[in-house]
Amino acid sequence: MLTVEGLRSRYGRIEVLHGVDLFVGSGEIVTVVGANGAGKTTLLRCLSGVQPVSGGAITFRGEAMTCVPAYRRVARGLAQSPEGRQIFTNLSVEENLRLGAFIFADERVERDMADAFAMFPILREKRNQLAGGLSGGQQQMLAIARALMGRPACLLLDEPSMGLAPILVAQIFEVVKALKALDVTVLLVEQNAFGALSVADRGYVMETGRVTMGGSADELIADPRVREAYLGI
């Protein structure tokens, strides 16, 4: 479904992705784990088109995506819940969700919103409150729900567990697992390698702008190098 080949990207003169290759198959949950600063966020920013690509190619559902402007990528089926949630703090929860469906103007928006509320009942309770007043975990749920309102074929999740209490982290990973049942393909970026690998089908390890390892989630969890470097075992 999503193929990334030799992807390069830079901030000013400093290259931070030095040729990343990865593949996400339809219906899979694939995770990219790696330490802080490895380039995971930059990779997702490139996939969503909000970060210039200086080399390589992104192919999504058979179409070249590299030159598609960011605002057209949701329509192509690629939505992202970005690092740090990036919700619209001055707008209500409901308005945030409606903006997630910005490119759609049909009656399915209401149904999708009902689905989002069924998935995250707390958001229904707070639907008229300003999103900026939500707790961290609620904001994360809102960010995921907003991305789902874009009806993605593939959902990009950047560090959804970051900064959350352990119980919420578990809840967020449950949500990721549940997406599989909804036929949404997921590319999950995480520093929390153990949590991510336990819900993923496959994974990649990223180090300083390169993919250094890849395999099934079980293989990676069992790999001594991964255990030492990322699982602290």
């Binding site: 605002y71 990528r73 703090t89 874009g150």
Partner: protein, 290 residues
């Protein structure tokens, strides 16, 4: 008592213009975090181009429409050729770019339209109206009504239209706006066009009362900026309140103290706001914007 009413009436008229200039600052600031000091030039262009159109024999409404359209195009050009290429530069550099652009616009206007000072004819005569003992020029009513109409139209645009919501979303969080499929570059272009058009319309409305020349933009920018700061940069409601308050303060200063001090009011307001309450009356928490 009738003195006071008189001062209030003239304060509201001038304040309405400051409110429109402040609104221009607000729209561009929200879309791009840029404080656009060329905002005053938009007002000047609105007046000067209309004057040129009328002098060339066009009817005033047509001249005004052309002035607004040309000024919008200049606003879009400012974004496309000066602001957009510098995307990612520190905000201070962007502000300096707008100051440069305003000097450039002034220079070109002086060359093309001359150094003279001009007035437009009033829209519906100069016969003053008497309201509760104050004399009010019909043009003052045009200015006030025009400002009210623009604020209402803009409010409807932001709350009722999809494009308006895209602008609001972009000003709240540009990255998130891009990620939900909003064309934020178009939003920027639109914001510059809108700000320039509002500035030009303010220029058309006020030029029958305050004569215009290529130089009037500087002080209008300063006063609009003061009004926007007072109301809270980024808040349309603040722009309206700040503009009216500044207009009233100026009129009262001119009436009860001396008209020499009138122009100092704006400086005083800027300093007072910066020192005492940098967010202004309705400004959002600066850390929330980051």
């Amino acid at each position: 008592m009738s003195d006071l009413l008189q001062f209030l009436a003239s304060g509201v008229t001038v304040g309405a213009v400051y409110a429109l200039v402040a609104l221009g600052f607000t729209i561009i600031y929200n879309a791009s975090d840029v404080v656009n000091f060329a905002q005053g030039e938009f007002v000047m262009l609105g007046g000067m181009i209309s004057v040129a159109g009328v002098a060339a024999g066009l009817p005033l409404p047509l001249a005004a429409l052309i002035a607004i359209a040309v000024t919008s195009a200049i606003g879009v050009a400012l974004n496309t050729f000066a602001i957009e290429p510098a995307r990612g530069a520190p905000v201070v550099s962007l502000i300096i770019i707008t100051i440069g652009a305003s000097i450039f616009i002034r220079g070109v206007t002086q060359i093309v339209l001359g150094k003279g000072t001009h007035r437009l004819p009033s829209f519906s005569g100069d016969e003053p109206l008497h309201v509760f003992g104050a004399t009010v020029l019909p043009q003052s009513l045009w200015v006030t009504a025009g400002a009210v109409a623009i604020f209402v139209a803009l409010w409807l645009f932001f709350t009722r239209t999809l494009t308006g919501r895209a602008v609001l979303a972009t000003s709240n969080n540009r990255l998130a706006a891009q990620l939900v499929g909003i064309n934020t570059r178009f939003v920027m272009t639109l914001s510059f066009a809108l700000s320039a058009a509002i500035g030009a319309l303010a220029g058309v409305l006020i030029t029958p009362i305050l004569p215009t020349s290529f130089e009037v933009g500087i002080s209008l920018a300063l006063k609009g900026f003061a009004a926007a700061m007072l109301g809270g940069m980024g808040s349309p409601k603040g722009a309206l309140t700040g503009g009216l308050l500044l207009g009233l303060m100026e009129a009262l200063t001119a009436g009860y103290i001396s008209s020499h001090y009138k122009d100092a009011v704006a400086f005083f307001v800027i300093l007072a706001v910066l020192f005492a309450f940098p967010r202004g009356l309705y400004g959002s928490n600066p850390t929330e914007r980051v």
